[in-house]
C-alpha cells in the first residue's frame, strides 16, 4: 500500500500528470452537467454522432498538417463539430427526414472517411497508433502542453458559466418544450445552445477518453444519479460528483497500473452505475415493505 502511495506521489511531481488530472476533472464535470439534459431530452444519440464527426475532423486536420502546419487541431475540429451539432439538431427536429438515419449516416460516414484520409495523406510514421489514440484517448491526456491545458480550462469555465446562467431555462426546455415556448422562452434557441455546448464538451473530451468513449462519459453519471435521486437539481449535483470522482479514480488507477486512461475512467463509471442500480433496487424494496 505504501509502495502504491509512493509511486503516486512520485508521478504527481511531473507537470504532465498534474495537467492530466486538472483537465480530466474539468472535462468530467462539464460532461456530467450536460449529460442529464441530453439523456432526458433523448438527445444522447446526438452526442454519439458528434463524437464520430469530431474523429473525422481530427483526421482532416491531421491530413492538412501534411500540407500546412496546424498548431492546434482544435482550430479545425471545434468549428466542424459545432456545425455538425447544429445540422444534426435541425434534422432531428425535421419530421420529413428520418433523424436517426441521418445521424447514423453522418457518424459512420465521418468515421470511414476520417480513417481513409489518415491513411492517404498522413505522413506520420505510426498511423494505427494515431488512430487508436484518437478513438480511445490512449495517451493523449498525458501529453498535454501548457497552452492546451489553458484552452481546456477556459472552455470548461465557459461551459459551466453558461450552464449556471441558463440553469432554469435549460430545466424548463428539458421538462416541457411546448410549455416553455408558449410562455415566451425561445426553445429552439436553447436547443441550439445545448447542442453547441455539447459539441464543445465532445471536442474537449476527445483528449481524455478518445472519441469512441465520450458518450459513456456523458451518459453513465447521469443515468446512475437518476436511479437514486428525485429532483432535477439533486440529479445534476450527484451526477457531477460521480463523474468527477470516477475521472479522478480512473486517472490514478491508470497511472498506478499503466492501463489506458479513457477506458479505465469508463470502467469506473460503469461500476458506479451497477452499484447505484443495485442500491435503487434495494431502496424501492425497502420503501414497499
Amino acid at each position: 500500500m505504501t509502495d502504491l502511495w509512493n509511486t503516486l506521489v512520485y508521478y504527481f511531481q511531473f507537470p504532465f500528470v498534474q495537467y492530466a488530472m486538472i483537465v480530466g476533472l474539468l472535462i468530467a464535470l462539464c460532461s456530467s452537467l450536460l449529460g442529464v439534459t441530453l439523456v432526458l431530452k433523448r438527445f444522447s444519440f446526438i452526442g454519439d454522432g458528434l463524437s464520430h464527426v469530431a474523429f473525422g475532423a481530427m483526421a482532416v486536420s491531421a491530413s492538412l498538417n501534411a500540407v500546412i502546419t496546424i498548431e492546434n487541431d482544435m482550430i479545425v475540429v471545434l468549428p466542424v463539430t459545432v456545425l455538425a451539432a447544429i445540422l444534426l439538431l435541425q434534422t432531428s427536429q425535421n419530421a420529413k427526414i428520418k433523424g436517426d438515419a441521418m445521424i447514423a449516416m453522418i457518424s459512420v460516414g465521418s468515421l470511414a472517411l476520417g480513417y481513409l484520409l489518415m491513411n492517404l495523406f498522413s505522413n506520420s510514421p505510426n498511423i494505427s497508433g494515431d488512430v487508436c489514440s484518437t478513438l480511445f484517448g490512449a495517451t493523449s491526456i498525458l501529453t498535454l502542453t501548457l497552452p492546451e491545458v489553458w484552452l481546456c480550462v477556459i472552455m470548461a469555465v465557459i461551459v459551466i458559466a453558461v450552464f449556471l446562467l441558463f440553469y432554469h431555462k435549460i430545466f424548463a426546455v428539458t421538462f416541457d418544450e411546448n410549455f416553455a415556448s408558449a410562455t415566451g422562452v425561445n426553445a429552439n434557441a436553447y436547443n441550439l445552445l445545448i447542442a453547441v455546448i455539447t459539441a464543445f464538451i465532445i471536442v474537449l473530451a476527445m483528449n481524455l477518453v478518445g472519441s469512441l468513449l465520450i458518450s459513456a462519459l456523458i451518459i453513465f453519471p447521469s443515468l446512475s444519479a437518476m436511479r437514486i435521486f428525485k429532483s432535477f437539481r439533486s440529479v445534476i449535483l450527484c451526477s457531477a460528483v460521480i463523474s468527477v470522482i470516477c475521472a479522478g479514480m480512473g486517472i490514478i488507477l491508470a497511472i498506478l497500473f499503466s492501463t489506458p486512461v479513457g477506458s479505465t475512467i469508463v470502467a469506473a463509471d460503469i461500476a458506479v452505475f451497477i452499484l447505484f442500480s443495485i442500491l435503487s433496487g434495494v431502496l424501492s424494496r425497502h420503501e414497499k415493505a
Binding site: 440553469y167 431555462k169 421538462f175 411546448n178 429532483s231 432535477f232
Partner: protein, 239 residues
C-alpha cells in the same frame, strides 16, 4: 365584462395549408369557453395559434384591453419525456414563473411565494418535495395546472385536461377548474373531447371542424342542430 380576445374571419394553418377558416368569436373576462371538434378538426392548430406558436394565415387574433398573449397560462398534454423525469413538484411549479425572469438567472422571493400560494390553493403544498414521476395522474395534472397559474392568472388554456385520468380524478379536476373560473374569475379556454363535461361546465361553446360550425352560449348550442347531433353522438359513445 371586458373583451379579452377576438377573432374576425380568421383562417389558420401551417406550411401554407389552411386547416381552419371562418373563425368569428370573442372571449370575455370570466368566460368558460369549450372548444369542441373531432380529431383533425384544427383544435391543436387553433390552440398553438392562440399561444403565438403559429401565425394566422388570414386575419388575426386580437388581444384587447390589458390582456396580451403573455397573459395566457397553458396546460399542455403530458409528453412521454415527463413520465420518468426526475424533478420535484416545486421545481416544476416554479418553472411557470420563467416568463417573468427575462435574462435573470434565478427566481426572486416573490416568485417563490407566489408559487407557494398557488400550490396551497390547489392542495398540493404537501407534495412540494415529492418527485413528479411518483405522483398519481390527478396529482400530476394539478402540478401542471399550478405551473400554468404561475405563468398567468387571467386566462388559462387547457388542452384536454382529463386525458388518462379516472372518473373521480376527472371530476375533481373539472371542479377545480370551475372553482378557479367562478371564484378567481380566471377566463378558461378548454379543448375537449368530453362533450358531457363541456356542456356541464362551459358558459360558451366553439365547435369546429375545418371551419367554424358553431359559436355561442351553451344554451344556444343545446338548441342548435350541430349541438344536438353532436350530443347524441357523444351520448352513444359514452354509454
Amino acid at each position: 365584462m371586458g373583451i379579452q380576445l377576438q377573432c374576425k374571419d380568421t383562417a389558420l394553418g401551417y406550411d401554407g395549408r389552411v386547416v381552419l377558416q371562418g373563425l368569428n368569436f370573442v372571449v370575455s373576462e370570466g368566460d368558460y369557453l369549450c372548444i369542441l371538434g373531432e380529431n383533425g378538426s384544427g383544435k391543436s392548430t387553433l390552440m398553438k395559434t392562440l399561444l403565438g406558436l403559429h401565425t394566422p394565415s388570414r386575419g388575426e387574433i386580437q388581444f384587447c384591453g390589458d390582456t396580451s398573449q403573455k397573459e395566457i397560462g397553458y396546460l399542455p398534454q403530458q409528453t412521454i419525456v415527463q413520465r420518468d423525469f426526475p424533478a420535484s413538484v416545486q421545481e416544476i411549479v416554479l418553472s411557470g414563473c420563467l416568463s417573468r425572469c427575462g435574462f435573470r438567472p434565478f427566481y426572486t422571493k416573490q416568485e417563490k411565494q407566489l408559487a407557494g400560494e398557488i400550490m396551497q390553493k390547489l392542495g398540493i403544498m404537501d407534495l412540494n418535495k415529492r418527485c413528479y414521476r411518483e405522483l398519481s395522474g390527478g396529482q400530476q395534472q394539478r402540478v401542471l395546472l399550478a405551473r400554468a397559474l404561475c405563468s398567468a392568472r387571467k386566462m388559462l388554456l387547457l388542452d384536454e385536461p382529463v386525458t388518462g385520468l379516472d372518473a373521480r380524478a376527472s371530476h375533481e379536476m373539472y371542479e377545480l377548474i370551475a372553482d378557479l373560473n367562478q371564484n378567481d374569475s380566471v377566463t378558461i379556454i378548454m379543448i375537449s373531447h368530453d362533450i358531457q363535461a363541456s356542456v356541464n361546465y362551459a358558459s360558451h361553446i366553439l365547435h369546429i371542424g375545418g371551419r367554424q360550425l358553431f359559436y355561442g352560449t351553451k344554451r344556444e348550442y343545446l338548441q342548435s342542430k350541430v349541438g344536438q347531433a353532436f350530443l347524441e353522438m357523444g351520448g352513444v359513445m359514452h354509454d
